[in-house]
């Protein structure tokens, strides 16, 4: 499909995402986030496999024996003066990647997005998820030499609850009723209600552990594989190898410099000219350029990200079912996949579950591109020949081009769409879900359940189209409690069908996340499907092979 060398990774059923916070950033209220989380927690409990001690580290992959030494420069797609080394405030790829470099969490995601012990050597819950005991790894020291202790963990997690911290994931921590140190190596966390997914939450990059009492985060003092040598927001950061890193033999590189290049062609040029060795956010149409270069490769990951057409049910004419259906027939999905994403995408069927997800319902007939059918439906909806604005923005990746293609096919069906492009600045708060016809972009969620709960449940604040379907809501609630995998799978199939047929959301394709790298950068085959840069965790895993 997309990347010959790196076959698409099988995604774990718990398709979780550290980027949950990304959504938080988009304006989710404290209360709503909490609600969402509660739901997700129940689901997680049923998947099992969350309790455990150190399972050993993931395999090294296929790219040979790691070597020590070397220095690379990495360019992310954005950097600005609001860059921060405060894990609680991270908001862009470059922030997350730096936080993964300089800090560790109690837990971390593996390739299947299952939380594995990190700074916590061991974690357990004695009462089904209300009281948790985390036992810390011994002999871990911060970059300034101070040994890791339970007090640091208490501080690091507790600070999210203080509104003046400005944490991006504050809502996730309001469920913590109490956090206390039991001696220097154990931390006990008590929740308001049971939540088996606490280790998942603690694996997100915002939950990294910092020394107790840290006020000035610009030094980047953590326990991570790299020490921060220089950090100037919006300019660059330099991390040098932490020789005292607790994970034996890691990291491999001597030094990593991180910069931001917002202009995509410039980013690609910098990679190809050898000025940087790793970039993220490569457009599909640039991927070929990188592939053509003998010294470079792309890594494309399908993590379930999608840009969707939002048709509000509470506004005209998007409330008319025939109109909604017509619009779905107007997506020339093959063309979108080929022309906009250069096949770095997967055709979707107007529901948010990608084929790699275990709950994916493959028997649902693919909705074709059928302008005649659409014309008929539009006539039925009484909007034939109407003129409608559709809002697109660079903020929802690919939405402008999708809008153009949609406009073309709509014309064939006798519908006149006018595109209203708005700046990405402020798009999520001012435009998203505010217009009858617009675009959204949804990042992958940790689990299918979270995804459906956040974006399709009637009561969900991010129910993009304002879709209300009792049957769906019931299925969703039931599925969380359903112990039988087969039955549950059927429930998911039903939900996907409901969305596919009735929801005011059109999902033409799932978009791959593409990184570009210098081929001498090895160890990049590990895939954590949370986003680019190997789910932001590349620093610890890659090495430089000059040969």
């Amino acid at each position: 499909m997309t990347n010959k060398k790196n076959p698409p990774t099988i995604l774990s059923e718990s398709e979780q995402s550290a980027r949950i916070h990304e959504a938080m950033r988009r304006g989710m209220s404290r209360r709503d986030a909490l609600k969402t989380f509660g739901v997700a927690g129940m689901f997680a409990a049923s998947t099992g496999g969350l309790l455990g001690s150190s399972l050993g580290y993931a395999s090294e992959g296929t790219s040979g024996t790691p070597q020590r030494g070397g220095r690379i420069r990495v360019a992310a797609h954005a950097a600005s003066t609001s860059d921060t080394l405060d894990p609680a405030k991270g908001s862009t790829a470059i922030d997350y990647a730096r936080h993964e470099m300089f800090y560790n969490g109690l837990t971390e995601f593996d390739e299947r997005l299952i939380p594995q012990p990190a700074l916590a050597e061991h974690f357990e819950t004695s009462d089904g998820g209300t009281t948790w005991l985390f036992t810390l790894r011994r002999g871990v020291t911060f970059h300034d030499g101070k040994p890791l202790s339970a007090a640091d963990v208490v501080f690091s997690i507790g600070r999210h609850q203080d509104p003046t911290t400005g944490s991006k994931v504050m809502s996730l921590t309001t469920q913590i009723a109490d956090i206390k140190a039991l001696g220097s190596q154990q931390v006990q966390i008590t929740l308001n209600s049971p939540n088996i997914e606490l280790p998942v939450i603690l694996a997100v990059s915002h939950m990294k552990i910092v020394p107790e009492g840290t006020v000035d985060f610009s030094k980047g003092i953590g326990t991570g594989p790299f020490r921060c040598q220089e950090f100037s927001p919006g300019v660059r950061s330099i991390g040098v190898r932490n020789d005292n890193y607790w994970r034996e033999g890691r990291p491999y590189l001597d030094e990593i410099e991180m910069v931001g290049i917002s202009d995509e062609p410039s980013r690609i040029n910098a990679l190809l000219s050898g000025d940087v060795q790793l970039v993220n956010e490569v457009y599909g149409r640039s991927a070929e350029r990188i592939e053509l270069s003998t010294g470079h490769a792309v890594k494309s990951v399908n993590s379930g990200n999608y840009t969707d057409l939002v048709m509000r049910v509470d506004q005209e004419p998007t409330s008319r079912p025939a109109f909604v259906e017509a619009m779905k027939y107007l997506f020339d999905r093959e063309q979108i996949k080929r022309a906009i994403f250069r096949d770095y995408a997967e055709i979707a069927n107007d529901h948010p579950i990608a084929s790699s997800n275990p709950y994916y319902f493959g028997d649902l007939p693919q909705r074709p591109y059928d302008p005649d059918r659409a014309r008929h439906l539009l006539k039925q909806a009484g909007v034939e020949g109407a003129r409608l604005p559709v809002v697109a923005s660079p903020a929802a990746s690919g939405s402008e081009d999708m809008a153009v293609l949609l406009q073309q096919s709509a014309q064939q069906a006798g519908l006149n769409l006018t595109i209203n492009r708005v700046p990405s600045d402020g798009y999520w708060s001012n435009h998203w879900m505010k217009h009858p016809l617009g675009f959204g972009n949804i990042n992958p969620r940790p689990t299918a359940n979270i995804l459906l709960s956040q974006f399709f449940q009637s009561s969900a604040p991010w129910n993009e189209s304002g879709w209300k379907n009792e049957q769906f809501d019931q299925l969703l609630t039931l599925s969380r409690a359903e112990p039988d995998q087969a039955v549950r799978k059927q429930m998911y199939a039903d939900m996907q069908t409901l969305i596919h047929e009735h929801c005011g959301i059109g999902i033409p394709v799932f978009i791959n996340t593409i990184d570009g790298r210098d081929k001498r950068l090895k160890g990049y085959d590990r895939t954590i499907p949370l986003g680019g840069f190997m789910g932001y965790t590349f620093a610890e895993h890659v090495w430089w092979d000059e040969a």
């Binding site: 062609p265 022309a339 402008e400 073309q408 014309q411 492009r421």
Partner: protein, 294 residues
């Protein structure tokens, strides 16, 4: 040489004081004017009739190839989505030429009227308008555009307003000094001693004589605005898709630069020929002609 003219002669045939063109330089100069005028008229025609001549709809994906080269079906190749570049340029020219023209006309209109007002108005008014003008002129245009877009969102009126705010102050400056010069001329004094009102003096005595230099200045402003617009496309400002002005066409296809795609070269050449043409025309119209070598 005496500047006055012999009574019996018509100045048009006045040899000593008025004649300036040397024979061997007449031709190249006419040539540049001819080239300039041709280019400008060409683009004006494209702006007016281009969309009608476009072989394909501006947003239609008509080719399977992206960034394809010239072919019989697509004389200027295709763009990053496989759309026909010729059609896109034919449409885009209307936006670039139209926007720049409107903005240039508005800049000059506003600049000239304020300039005239300042030149003829009482000192305090002149002083305050001039200060405000200095203040506006000192704000970098791209930065202004950025803030304006953040505040109001991108739209065609906003593009025009931004360009006008950026370029009207320059027009004001020139108009003001022109008007101030004309106001000291004797025919204006005559009108004043005739008891004419300020408005009459401004509209009838001063304005007609500013027309030509203001027009030349407007031409320069037009060129600057075309370039500003193409610069603004970098910051994500432009007309609504599927339309695109020439600058945005270059910008959206810049990924094809490495393979030398016509999709980048085409619109870049379009901007180039448009601005060079306008410049040549203005130059040749305002320049003194010819020079005698030693």
């Amino acid at each position: 040489m005496n500047n006055s003219i012999l009574d019996s002669r018509r100045p048009s045939s006045e040899p000593e004081s008025r004649v300036s063109a040397a024979r061997r330089h007449v031709k190249p100069l006419n040539l540049t004017r001819w080239i300039g005028a041709t280019l400008v008229i060409f683009w004006l025609l494209v702006a007016i009739f281009g969309p009608m001549l476009a072989p394909h709809p501006v947003g239609a994906l008509v080719a399977d190839d992206m960034y394809s080269g010239a072919s019989a079906a697509f004389p200027l190749g295709t763009d990053y989505l496989g759309r026909d570049m010729l059609s896109r340029i034919l449409h885009g020219a209307r936006y670039t030429v139209g926007l720049a023209l409107i903005a240039a006309v508005l800049s000059s209109l506003i600049g000239a009227s304020l300039g005239m007002l300042a030149a003829l108005a009482p000192r305090w008014l002149d002083e305050s308008v001039s200060r405000l003008n200095d203040a506006l002129i000192s704000i970098p245009s791209k930065m202004l555009a950025l803030v304006m877009v953040s505040a109001f969102g991108a739209s065609i009126p906003l593009l025009i307003v931004t360009a006008v705010i950026s370029y009207a102050p320059g027009a004001f400056r020139i108009s003001r000094s022109l008007a101030a010069n004309i106001a000291t001329l004797e025919y204006v004094q005559v009108a004043r001693t005739r008891g004419e009102g300020k408005l009459y003096i401004a509209a009838v005595e001063v304005l007609p004589n500013m027309f030509h230099p203001v027009l030349t200045d407007m031409g320069m402003r037009f060129v600057f605005i075309v370039l500003l617009l193409s610069g603004m496309s970098f910051l994500g400002l432009g007309v609504q898709p599927p339309m695109a002005d020439l600058g945005s066409l270059v910008r959206e296809n810049i990924g094809g630069l490495s393979q030398g795609a016509l999709a980048v070269i085409g619109p870049a050449l379009a901007i180039g020929t448009l601005t060079i043409g306008a410049n040549l025309l203005i130059d040749s119209l305002s320049a003194n002609r010819g020079q005698q070598g030693e």
